[in-house]
Amino acid sequence: MVRLTAFICLVAALLTLGCNGARETDEVTFVVSVGIDAAPGGQVNVTYRVVKPSATGGEGGKGSSEASQAITITAPSLAVARDLLNSQVARAPSLSHVKVFVIGEELARKGLGEAIGPLPRFREFRGSMYIHIVDGTTAEKVIRANKPVVEKLPTRWVEGTMGSAGETGYYLRTFLHDFLVRLKAGSGSPYAALVGINSGTGEARLSGQPAAGEKTGEYLAGGIGTRGGNPVQMIGTALFRGDKLVGKLTSEETRMLAMLTGDFRRGYITIQDPLQSKSGVNIHLRPGRRPKIDVDIVDGQMIIGIDIMLEGEVTSIASGINYENPEYNQKLEEQISAVVRADMAKMLRYTQQVGSDPADIGKYLRPRFRTYEEFRRFDFTAKYETAQVDVKVSTQVRRTALMQKTSPIRDRH
């Protein structure tokens, strides 16, 4: 009996070494980004960025253009496109290392339910992948144009930009998980970071005028005036109603959204000098606390109360006026609050117009319902569109960086 037991254990140990049904890495092609565009006849153009393992590993790693390649396939679905990819790359395609889904604007406007709704069913996709929406062009063009300067691989560029979203608040980190949860939740609307291609001429395309008292212009993806570097830019937010793209938030509006969702960590704002309007004052802003949002229904109308508290650090005073002085400091704080309040109100008005609630303000009403059925029957979008919004912003300029006062410049006119 002991011999039999030992035999069974030995055989089992020998046969279970390694993995049954697994694949060696040199039998697999890893796809790192997927672009999806609308194609004629109800088809989709699927663009895969495929990495070449030999070009990315070790000291002999090559540049991004050589380390990966973009392949576009026209197919009736993502699943068929994946199978067709296999016919071209000679290895079994694996989508388990996909970092981002880039969706063309045309397809996004038609609705993403059919394109990305089924994704969570497939084991190679995970919620921690990102989703980006292309502004004004196709996903294929963005994937092909993406030539990171600092990073070796486009995936590193995606992870880097998404990871540093909190540095400015000009775009938001948008996981596929959050997008899908919003698609099926009873409140809130999906949103995604906006990407676009810059012309490279150095000419800026402003997408909105600064609020009164502000000096910073507003941009959408591809609109920042640059020469050189990666032509692909990420800035702004794509707004959805259900699964359809219905609008876009500019850089400043996106920052306001970040303040509401609690994703804003820090960022610079240039405001008009309250005492000398031609000059600007640079403030490094950060949240003073989590935003307070109260939502109520009064006589059938949704009333939204928003209370934002910001903290600032003066990093530049072009006019030389002594804003370190408490009397002037208060004027500065009022100016910042007024600018942010105006930007916030403008952003919220726009989201109401397009019927999209990216800040998920509706969720603050959830505790008012007793049961899930009751909650699902409530028409949040209709209530949100006609809601009355009161925004309160207060700012405390707490620091003046490394200067405690500004001495005048001699002979300056």
Binding site: N20, R23, R123, R126, G127, V181, T371, Y372, E374
Partner: protein, 365 residues
Amino acid sequence: MSYQPGRMGVAEGIGLTFVVMLPRVFLTSPAVTISSVHNLAWTAPLINWVVTLAVFWLLAKSTVHMGSDLYDVSRRLLGRPGAWVLALSYAALFILDAASLLRQFAENTLLTALPAAEFRLIIFWYILFAAVLVYFGIEGIARAAYLVMPFIVGGVAAVVLLLAPFYDVYRLFPWQGAGLWTAARRGLELAGLNFGVLLLLVLAPSFQKPSTIMTAAFFGGGVSALLRTLVILFFLLAFGVGVGMEKMLPFFEMSRLVYLSRYVQRIEALFIVIWVITGLLAIAINIFAALYLVARPLGLPSLRPLVPVIAMIVVNLAVIPSDIGAVVAADTRLVVLLSAGVYGGPLLLSAMAYRKGRRKKPWSA
């Protein structure tokens, strides 16, 4: 191997109870609960654990002075035919539980880890290892269960903590979910998830003292119920009801979603090991319990010759459902059937013990 399982203490009892009650938290069960109870689904494991513990305590209290196992107690209270029916019914439930777990763990291994593997091969490996474990006896399984317990608790806690960036407390609202009545009813219906705790009474003489059994039930089952509660609660916080009820494997989805930075992500492979070990041990424990309950009324001197037979029966039962949808539906019905086992036998035996005690009183007086 005699049918006598040997001597075990509190640690072994806790390990056995914990592992045999836990595996469905790694399967579709949390999503099925969310489908029916919605936002209040997290209370279901607590409700059914409290009720199960009460029933268990009642039975243990009324029969523990008899100092014998479930079959012996049934024989004294129900007579030999009654004890036969009860023992074989519970053996059947343990076998069905083992079969359902075997099929689900095999399917999910195919789904999550080895998509290109042959299904029959996976099910063969599972049952082979479970049979080998049973062959070595319940003491070894119990000690292995106790050893892996901290890793399972630590693993679940790690996933729950690492998912913190995805939580939104508003997803727990509306707090009544599908309604308080539905939550209470489903909570009671799902007592079958705690069916394994009866193992302590099946093997009662091995634990020597009534206090050992109660301590093992309280802590082993309690930690298991707490983990099930936490997994559903935090799953709801991360996914909400709408998406939560869609998922086939909620815990796997949770571990797959972990993303702290480019360096802390894609950690689900670590947790596949945890749930495979839990599943294997639970299948083995169920098979052992069934063997024991078959061997006792038949008066068999050893369980070992029956191991391959029961293993074959378990495999054959496991492959009956034609597809994964049928497997999940069958398991949902099985849990309700196991609930009948949790309530039925113990309440019947408690009532009989009470009746017998009342009858005896005039005699003793």
